[in-house]
Structures are given as structure tokens and as C-alpha cells.
């Protein structure tokens, strides 16, 4: 966690809600073009290096992927999918990391104040000091991103290099890419780049190409050009990601109603006592006043 100069737009488990939002800061985004990715994994190495993450052993499970999935010490993974399509065999490689959603499900699910924050520029970051390692964020995230350290049990994920971005540098992964399939800038500019590339792909015969920027989470801070956008599952992406209904229902409905119910029970008890008083034992055991009223 760094870059205190960035205002926090939203914070987990925050009673008071958003910050003042006085300064207008453009939302940033990463642009990923899966159609020109060669799977060299320079971006994986750059992320490990910049964030001083420990070297992890590659797990060979019969695919070109370095690791089967993200890890608390491995925040950026090139996912690899071999797919037979009309016209031959395609290698579909997608750079997988936190999507920095505009409506982050992890932040909504998180019960620890200030453990997950969304900066004014849209970057979603974890504050390890405040994280309690409960795992709620894993249920809130529609992209299966949060991972927990075996040692501290706290959550770690891609920070969109907030420490680089806040001093005017591009994220480490973007800098390392040799083919130019990764770009960084304002969300508006990256969506513009995406439009151009999608048009090119369509003209080249990829009729179902599109830019993956799911509105179910309000759009994401990572926009991805997919050649086969009608099959996002080929790239390990879900068709309509959104903050899970269970999480929304729990936080926005059950919790406030529950608070009312508990307060109500308490107030009802006080009111009952004011109105009816106590059921008093009168006199001694032999007194007739204790017999049930006929």
C-alpha cells in the first residue's frame, strides 16, 4: 500500500461512504490485445520483479501456463487455451490479473474497514494492515482473483502498479511487453484503441471480435480485445460477470433489516415493560392472590 496522495473514492466496510470527490481524476485502464500476444511472459517476470514477489516453482500440468492459477505471490498469469476452430488450431492467450472493476465485488464483500480501497483513478488496492484474512472477497469477486498468503492469510493481488502510476509511470507489465499488445492510459483512450483494433480484426475475418469491458461490474480497469468474444469462456472469462446477488442481498438488504430487527426487539422489550410492567409475585405461598384468575 502506498501513494497516499491518491484520494480514495471508495473503501471497504466504510460507514461514511465515498470521499469528497472534489478533484476530478481520469480513470486509468490497461489495454490487453490477446490477438497479438505471443505468450512470452515478459509481463509475468516484470510483475514479479517490480513487486519483489518470491520466485515460485513452475507447475507443469501439460500446458504452456507458468502456473495453473493466480497466487498470493503471483499476480499476473498468461492463461493458455488451445482451441480447434473453423480454419485450424488457435492458441488463445490472455493476460489474467485483477480487473480493477468500477464496482468491485471484493470491496463490497469485505468486512474490514479500509482493507480494500478504490482510488479516485479506479485502481482497486489491498491494504494488508487492515486485511483480516476472512476470505469474503473471494466470494465477491466474479473473476476469481483474490488469493491468500499461506503465511499471513492476507489477500494479495495485482495493484495496477499504483506506486508507479501515481508518479507518472506505466505499470511494469505494460513496460515489459515486446509486441506492443499492452498499453496503458486513460480508460477513454484505451477503449478507443480497442475499437480500432476490433475493427481491424473484423476486417481480417474475425467477425466475432469485440472489446471485453463488462458492464455488469460497471466496466473494468482492464479492457481486453478478444478475437472470439462470443466465447469468453475460451479465455477463462465469464459471460456476464457481476457482483454476486448473494453478496448484494446480504450487504444491502439482510444487514440493514437485521439491524432494525435487533433494535426493534430491544425497543419492544422496553416498551413492553413500560406498558405492562412485571408479572409480580404477590404475598406468600399461601396467599390466594396467586391463584390463576377465574
Amino acid at each position: 500500500m502506498s501513494a497516499q496522495s491518491l484520494e480514495i473514492r471508495r473503501s471497504s466496510a466504510s460507514v461514511w461512504g465515498s470521499s469528497s470527490g472534489m478533484r476530478s481524476v481520469p480513470t486509468v485502464a490497461k489495454y490487453i490485445d490477446t490477438s497479438t500476444c505471443i505468450g512470452c511472459k515478459a509481463c509475468e517476470v516484470a510483475c514479479q520483479e517490480w513487486n519483489d514477489l518470491p520466485p515460485l516453482s513452475t507447475q507443469q500440468v501439460g500446458t504452456y501456463q507458468t502456473m495453473p492459477t493466480l497466487d498470493a505471490g503471483f499476480w499476473n498469469l498468461i492463461r493458455f487455451d488451445e482451441r480447434e476452430v473453423e480454419g485450424g488450431l488457435m492458441w488463445l492467450m490472455r493476460k489474467d490479473q485483477c480487473m480493477h472493476c468500477a464496482e468491485p465485488g471484493c470491496l463490497e464483500a469485505c468486512p474490514a474497514p479500509g482493507a480494500i480501497v478504490q482510488y479516485a483513478n479506479g485502481i482497486v488496492d489491498v491494504n494488508q494492515d487492515n486485511c483480516i484474512g476472512c476470505g469474503y472477497c473471494e466470494t465477491g469477486c466474479p473473476f476469481d482473483v483474490p488469493r491468500f498468503s499461506a503465511k499471513t492469510r492476507k489477500m494479495a493481488k495485482c495493484t495496477l502498479c499504483v506506486d508507479r502510476v501515481s508518479v507518472g509511470l506505466e505499470p511494469a507489465c505494460i513496460k515489459a511487453c515486446p509486441t506492443g499488445c499492452l498499453h496503458f492510459g486513460s480508460k477513454e483512450d484505451m477503449v478507443g484503441l480497442g475499437s480500432l483494433r476490433v475493427d481491424q480484426l473484423k476486417k481480417g475475418g474475425f467477425t466475432t471480435a469485440a472489446l471485453y469491458d463488462p458492464q455488469g461490474v460497471g466496466g473494468t480497469g482492464v479492457v481486453t480485445v478478444l478475437a472470439y468474444a462470443d466465447h469468453p469462456e475460451w479465455y477463462g472469462l465469464s459471460r456476464d460477470p457481476h457482483v454476486p446477488l448473494g453478496v448484494k442481498f446480504w450487504k444491502s438488504i439482510v444487514r440493514p433489516l437485521g439491524l432494525f430487527a435487533i433494535a426493534g426487539a430491544f425497543i419492544a422489550a422496553v416498551g413492553h415493560y413500560f406498558n405492562f410492567g412485571a408479572k409480580q409475585v404477590q404475598g406468600s405461598a399461601d396467599s390466594d392472590t396467586n391463584l390463576p384468575q377465574a
Binding site: 466496510a13 468486512p111 483480516i132 448473494g246 439482510v254 439491524l259 412485571a278 408479572k279 409475585v281
Partner: protein, 230 residues
Amino acid sequence: MSAVPIRDRAMDDAVTVARDREDVAVGNEIVRHRLASRLIHWAVALTFFVNILTGMPIWTPLFRWMADLFGGLSVCRVIHPWAGVAFTLISAVQFFHWLKDMHLEPAEKKEWLGSGVMKYLKYQGDDSQVGKYNGGQKLFFFAVSLGALGLLVSGVVMWFPLSFPQIVRELSYLLHDLTFILFVAAIIWHVYLGTAAEPGTFGSMVRGTVTKAWARLHHPRWYREVTGQK
């Protein structure tokens, strides 16, 4: 002879008797809860409150201040599931300890699942057939036992979320919330009825005894069974 006042031997005898027997009259009192019952009840109450105080700050930031009783939210996150294990175990002990006293008669069931509740709360119910525990108390017993089970099942999923699929996790968060909310509302009334609303009751769970007059008022059939008098 000294002028030292003679202690009321009847009161001390009741406590002694209450160590291992109940439903017996001693002087002006009747032993209602023997020592084992009282210890089990307070163990359940204690573990329950530790769970509430460690769980509510996690539930909502409005109760974040409760976490400071234990040293912060991270500590609460560790204590809460273990206190839950303790609560489940002692609730199971409580369930089997009191099960035989909690048999619901059909008439009780009909009354207490219907208009009987309001009549009781307005002090207008006919208590003449009320035994050691009234229908409401018996229903409460089964409700809290079921509640403890619900909290356990959902709690285990919340403790090891990555071992369960997404839908099971979502349902568990909801089940845990709903169960705990109903539980707290019920406990507020349990404490209220056991203290302010019905004087003479609290002693039954501390000393273990109640006065004969209390028994005649609240549990007339039990009074008749214990003393043989009307």
C-alpha cells in the same frame, strides 16, 4: 449465650440440595435448577456472547468498537470460529441435558404457535396447566438448538470458504446472518423475560431456587407436582 443472630438455615439448605437435586421443596423455596443445569446454561451464554462480540464487528462497521475488547478485528476473526466450536459443543450438551423436560403437548403447541403468545405477554394467559416449562420456553429451546446447528453449518463454510463452491458460500453468508439476527432478537427477549419482566426468575439460574409463590404464579402445575398442594 451470644447475641449473634441465627442464620436462616432453610436458605443454605436449599443451595446445598440444589447441588445435585431439583424439583424438590426446601422450606419456603423450591429447587428449580440443579448445579449442572446452571453451569451448562451459563457456559452456553458465555460462549454465545463471545461469538456475538467478536462477530458483530465483522458483520457491520457500526459495531467496529466491539472488536477493541479483544484487541482488534484480526483477533476477532481468529477467536470467532473457535468460540463457535465451543458454543456448538456446549449447546449440544445443553440440548441433551434438557430434552426430556421439553416435550411439547399438543395443546401447548396449538396455543403457543397461535394467540397464546400475545395473551402470555399481556399477562392474560391461563397458566393453570403450565408445568415446569411453558410452551414458549419449550419452543425457544428447540429454536435455539436449531439455530446453533444453522450457525455451525454456515459457520464452517465461512471459516474455510475456498473449500466450498460459490453458491454454497453465498447461501452460507445469508443463512449465518439470518440465523444470528433471529437468535439475538430471541435472546434479548429471553434476558428481558428472565429478569425485569418476571421478578424472581433470575435467581433460578444463579441460586437455583425460586419461592413457592413464584412457582404458584408462573408454573402452577409444576408447583402442585412438587409440593402436592394446590
